[in-house]
């Protein structure tokens, strides 16, 4: 009995560790793709959208018979784990996935992606981050391919496109949400815009999460007479800011970034009518693609509609699956990484990825839209392969 206490503790401990140990490898006919996202906590809705997008993609691929890898039919399975948006828990989730034989992992935000990036090459898995922070692809990691474009790409292309689409605009005021990503977006836009010989009259942070009274900032910014206001925030705060700006007599243009969606049309259609330049990072020109995706969502969860992160993870799973098919392997992450650039653009893609550069960043088409007559009017398709964005005007 003398040694009962430590032995009991040890036995319990060992049992628990084995309980947590990954199970036996899955049968060859199924391959797991990992998704790390916050499934609990304040950002759970974003994480659930991410998982939903990935699961819908897997369902669509499986319903079409799966993928053919080296002559064998393979079905996809999504392994989603909660990282609560905490980088250390992302590492834990990644370790668990690797133990279950996962070779391709999607991560949602910048911090978690950067934490997972440390493991990609040493542990041998392909990281598909859904974050736009440039740093993810500048560290020389081989096993990484970014699903959305970087904020550098969007911000610089937006400045180029503004110059072509609205040549009368000279002075731009920038108001950004005080987070590092939004601030960086504004800085890159400002650098490109001033590079064109134009002016930035103000660039200021404003906490859109906590404040709904925009008069203090507008009464500082509007007297500087900007021709356009670039507001780096989501639909709801932008709609309130647009209303208050018009009340203060502002007649200029509103510009937004890729995080702002279609909802702004419903919320402030009158205020932005004909004076809006919104960046739509998905190819919305082919309504059949979006309708097909919505239909797939309806089959899985009738009340859920595809959002930005869901479309990103959907795209990520398609890239992984088509890459595996092209590479003829589900276990060699480098071969999958090298094969993915050869499968774009693919028919189900909404993002319009044209190609990937050697760092792992993509060159995607995006659309600039105005809100005219109560509906979205797509003005131009934009992509940037060289130093300046290519603009294809739409009727």
């Amino acid at each position: 009995m003398g040694t009962l206490k430590p032995f009991s503790i040890c036995a319990l401990f060992i049992g628990f560790i084995f309980f947590l140990s990954p199970g036996l490898a899955q049968a060859q006919e199924r391959v797991k793709i990992g998704v790390c996202a916050p499934l609990t906590g304040a950002l759970a809705h974003t994480g659930k959208d991410t998982v939903m997008g990935a699961e819908v993609a897997a369902d669509r691929i499986n319903a079409a018979g799966g993928i053919t890898v080296a002559g064998k039919k393979v079905q996809l399975e999504i392994m989603a784990l909660d990282d609560q948006f905490k980088p250390d828990l992302t590492v834990t989730a990644v370790r668990r996935m690797l133990g279950s034989g996962v070779k391709v992992i999607c991560t949602l935000a910048s911090g978690p992606s950067m934490a997972a990036l440390e493991l990609a090459d040493p542990e041998g898995f392909l990281l598909l981050p859904l974050a736009t922070t440039p740093g993810i692809t500048t560290r020389g990691v081989k096993l990484v391919l970014r699903v959305p474009s970087t904020m550098d790409y969007y911000a610089a292309s937006m400045a180029d496109a503004l110059l072509s689409l609205r040549p009368q605009v000279e002075k731009v005021g920038i108001i950004w949400n005080p987070d590092p990503g939004s601030k960086a977006w504004g800085e890159i836009f400002a650098k490109t815009w001033t590079g064109h010989g134009k002016k930035i009259v103000v660039s200021e942070g404003f906490d859109f999460r906590k404040t709904t009274d925009f008069y203090p900032i507008l009464t500082r910014v509007l007297p500087l007479k900007p021709d356009a206001l670039l507001v780096i925030t989501m639909d709801e705060p932008l709609s309130m800011l647009a209303k208050q700006s018009r009340e203060l007599g502002y007649q200029g243009l509103f510009l937004t970034y890729e995080g702002c969606g279609d909802k702004i049309g419903e919320l402030a259609g009158k205020e932005i009518e004909g004076k809006y330049l919104g960046l739509k990072s998905f190819v919305v020109l082919d309504p059949r693609k979006m309708e097909n995706l919505k239909e797939a969502y309806r089959k899985k969860a009738p009340a859920v509609m595809p959002g930005t992160v869901g479309i990103n993870s959907h795209e990520g799973v398609y890239l992984a699956a088509l890459g595996m098919e092209k590479a003829g392997t589900v276990t060699d992450p480098l071969a999958i990484r090298q094969a993915i650039p050869k499968v774009v653009p693919f028919p189900e893609s909404l993002r319009g990825i044209l190609s990937f550069d050697e760092k792992g960043d993509n060159i995607s088409t995006f659309v600039l839209a105005d809100f005219i007559g109560g509906k979205w009017v797509y003005l131009a398709k934009v992509y940037k392969k060289g130093p300046k964005a290519e603009i294809e005007y739409l009727k």
Partner: protein, 323 residues
């Protein structure tokens, strides 16, 4: 018997990586080790000295950032960066403790929490120095160390990282054990029991609290430094006050003012949420319910339950055990 149990436990922990080769369980154990050091540091000031700090994530983060910046910017070796990180964290503990420890109870808790938030904001916005929200990547692992008889120990494998963390955990526990069982430790406990009463007996409460807080920050910095090197990446999240609350929970669950309490808390609160991943948000309900039960029915945590109730019953049932 106590010594034999301890020796057996140490041998068991040392042998664990020999047959536990899967990386995921080893990773969990390494994280348990790091959180145990951090929670033990909080235990010194909160458990033994009775000062409820809610800002320990700041010292943890200061340790992580100091060691990362020293290694990346100044090319320090991990073996130099680690003690420097501990000293810098302790220095911040001393400087913050000077004004904050003049307050008591919830005022002290709020003051330390506010300090924590300020640290996070500075790290997030001082981009030229800390790389802001993008965080610091590529933090090196410890350099190999030559040891007599064994040869060089490289810290590239998970097993080596595990031994490193558990070596520092053992060191932390040893020092905290020595402190709390010394006359100084008794003074801390006297302050916890009644600060005014202790002062009336000639104890310099402020000086003792300040030393305790500084030492506590030193060990929190140690945990942060180990965290940075193990993960290779840190961001302002590493200083988030939620980490301080997590440490508090480890203490509550394991047992405040007990040496094994922080470790038991860290083990349970790391392994259980992992094993319940399949329950998604229901996991949080269970987690919350468990915490409520612990706070109401186990104010001394699981160690308190063992010592006050389970162990005496076992001894009564098996009287031979008492010999």
């Amino acid at each position: 018997m106590k010594r034999w149990s301890l020796l057996l436990l140490i041998l068991f922990l040392a042998a664990l990586p020999l047959w536990l080769t899967a990386k995921y369980p080893l990773h969990l154990l390494i994280m348990v080790g790091i959180w145990s050091i951090a929670a033990s540091s909080l235990n010194l000031i909160l458990g033994y000295t009775g000062q409820g700090s809610l800002g320990h994530a700041a010292f943890f983060g200061i340790g992580a950032y100091t060691s990362a910046l020293l290694m990346i910017r100044l090319g320090f070796s991990f073996w130099l960066a680690l003690p420097s990180a501990c000293v810098v964290a302790a220095l911040f503990g001393f400087l913050i403790g000077l004004p904050a420890l003049r307050t008591r109870g919830s005022y002290f808790a709020i003051a330390t929490l506010a300090f924590n938030i300020i640290v996070t904001i500075i790290i997030e916005h001082w981009e030229d120095f800390t790389q802001g929200g993008a965080g610091i990547s590529g933090i090196p692992k410890p350099h190999p160390i030559p040891l007599p008889l064994i040869g060089k120990i490289a810290f590239t494998t998970m097993a080596a990282q595990y031994y490193l963390v558990f070596f520092f955990l053992a060191l932390t526990l040893f020092f905290i054990h020595r402190i709390v069982h010394s006359p100084v430790g008794k003074t801390y406990q006297a302050i916890r029991g009644g600060e005014s009463l202790a002062e009336s007996l000639g104890v310099n409460a402020m000086a003792n609290k300040l030393v305790s807080f500084t030492v506590s920050a030193f060990f929190a910095g140690l945990a942060g430094s180990l965290y940075a090197s193990y993960h290779g990446f840190i961001s302002p999240d590493t200083t988030n006050f939620h980490i301080g609350f997590d440490l508090l929970i480890y203490l509550l669950v394991g047992g405040v003012a007990t040496l094994p309490g922080p470790i038991i808390g860290a083990v349970i609160m790391t392994l259980i949420p992992e094993s319940l991943q399949f329950l998604l948000e229901y996991r949080i309900i269970l987690y919350g319910g468990f915490l409520i039960l612990v706070v109401i029915f186990l104010p001394r945590g699981l160690v308190g339950l063992w010592r006050a109730s389970l162990w005496p019953r076992i001894r009564m049932r098996f009287p031979a055990n008492q010999r």
